[in-house]
Symmetry: C2
Subunit: 250 residues, 2 copies
DNA sequence: CGGGTAGTTGAGAGCATTCAAGCTTTGTGG
DNA sequence: CCACAAAGCTTGAATGCTCTCAACTACCCG
């Protein structure tokens, strides 16, 4: 995390005496609560958590090459991860919504292999990785959850590896966004695109103009209604059909 | 593993009394030996290993949807993982050389999300995942190694996600193959392409004709010499330059 | 109101694909 | 041992999807 001044607990969420809370968005809470650990272990987990932020739009959370010490779950906002190549082209690797974990691909090299930037106002739960790994040896449920998260990310990364058309990739993008928002209790059919067309393009390996054109065509065909950053999925079925090939590999 | 009859230890490699060996290709051996664990823990690890195979060319190691119970390190040969979409197009997700681990992306769903097939004669080290995970709680070095392997695969999958030209992708493919062979003690500049042009194409998201054409062009420009499945890298520097953008994100 | 960023739309170009044909190697059976 | 088939590979020509370039519009914010 590049900005040390932000590593303070968020007011109102810090420890208050003997009580401790799990933030509802943290990816570890559910798994560990379910596993029925005793209170002391849960407290061990809890004290690892550091609520940091808010980061404002455009602010970096970490940069490529920064030493890796912690993973973080998004509490609110959207995070984009990306790398820049020698020609200055930006390659977006992923968007992270509330509840999702960033930094997992940094473990193998002990450095962040990409940049992470806030697309809007972002608050994170930060977990020291050495500490959570150590704790995981005492909490098999936590270890299992970490393995799962890592494994899931391998599959996610494979999403875009396939040889698909612009339409297929865009449909898959919209459907996965919808599912992820839906899983967090947001509307599955109406949501805000927190990223620019260019970001979407760099993520889907398209030109931003192509993103515009696909949006327009999808709208003309009645599949979506899009206006600036607001989007409504109007024909989910058709979108799912288009996305089918892309998503079956997850 | 789909073929139960192959789950026998390979003759000559099984336990012989009190002695136990690590097979040199197993990704876990080095890390765990280094960590200086006592003999009983190392034996625990060793008894988890099951040497299976050989699988012949074209034989499936697991299929999409098979229940996930084990990960496996390739001992010898090459494994291809792939999925097939609704139009019957094959999407190759990866090639696995000796020392590399397959099945890591199956953890999150408890099912293999893709097919794995032997490209030549393949022998594997199989590890029951529940067992190795349980052991990892007692061997932090092993847990760390598992985290690393998983994290590494996330990065690998991102390799092909970028928006790169056929030349860049092919160069990156050849360079990574070279590095991986080299890391295993094989020649870095002369090796056998154990996969077909079509497999390479499906992996790099190209048409097989394009793969042919790029090979020819690379050869005409003196970067490689390729004849059937035999390839020699003649101008590594130029290849690395081409691959630079693709590889910097790993 | 003006500047800047984001987004849209059109026209032309280019890279990769598709279609098609021919070549090479390998394996099989007469 | 040869013929033949099948699969893998190569090469050429034409099409097409997506990109690039360019101009224009809409919106936001000082």
């Amino acid at each position: 995390m590049s900005d040390a001044s932000r590593r303070r607990p968020v007011p109102g969420i810090a420890d208050d005496g003997d009580e401790f809370h799990f933030c509802s968005t943290c990816a570890f809470s559910a798994a560990c609560l379910e596993s029925g650990y005793d209170k002391s272990l849960l407290r061990d987990l809890h004290v690892l958590v550091e609520h940091i932020g808010p980061f404002h739009e455009g602010e970096h959370i970490f940069r490529e090459g920064d030493p890796f010490t912690a993973i973080a779950a998004v509490r609110s906002g959207t995070v984009k991860t990306y790398v820049t190549d020698h020609e200055g082209r930006e390659h977006v690797q992923g968007f992270f919504l509330p509840g999702e974990v960033i930094g997992l691909n940094a473990i193998s090299q002990a450095r962040y292999p990409s940049n992470a930037i806030a697309l809007d106002s972002v608050v994170l739960c930060r977990f020291s990785f050495p500490n959570i790994a150590a704790l995981a040896t005492r909490m098999p449920g936590l270890q299992q959850q970490l393995f799962k998260l890592l494994s899931l990310d391998i599959g996610k990364a494979a999403l875009l590896s396939g040889n698909f058309s612009a339409d297929e990739r865009m449909a898959a993008f919209l459907i996965t966004l919808s599912r992820r928002y839906s899983a967090r209790g947001f509307s599955p059919n109406r949501f805000l695109l927190t990223m620019t067309r260019t970001d979407i393009a760099n993520y889907l390996r398209l030109a931003s103009e192509t993103v515009s054109r696909v949006f327009r065509r999808f709208q003309d065909e009645g599949m979506i209604h899009v206006e600036r950053r607001e989007i409504e999925l109007k024909d989910r079925k058709q979108l799912e059909t288009l996305a089918e090939n892309v998503l079956r590999s997850i």
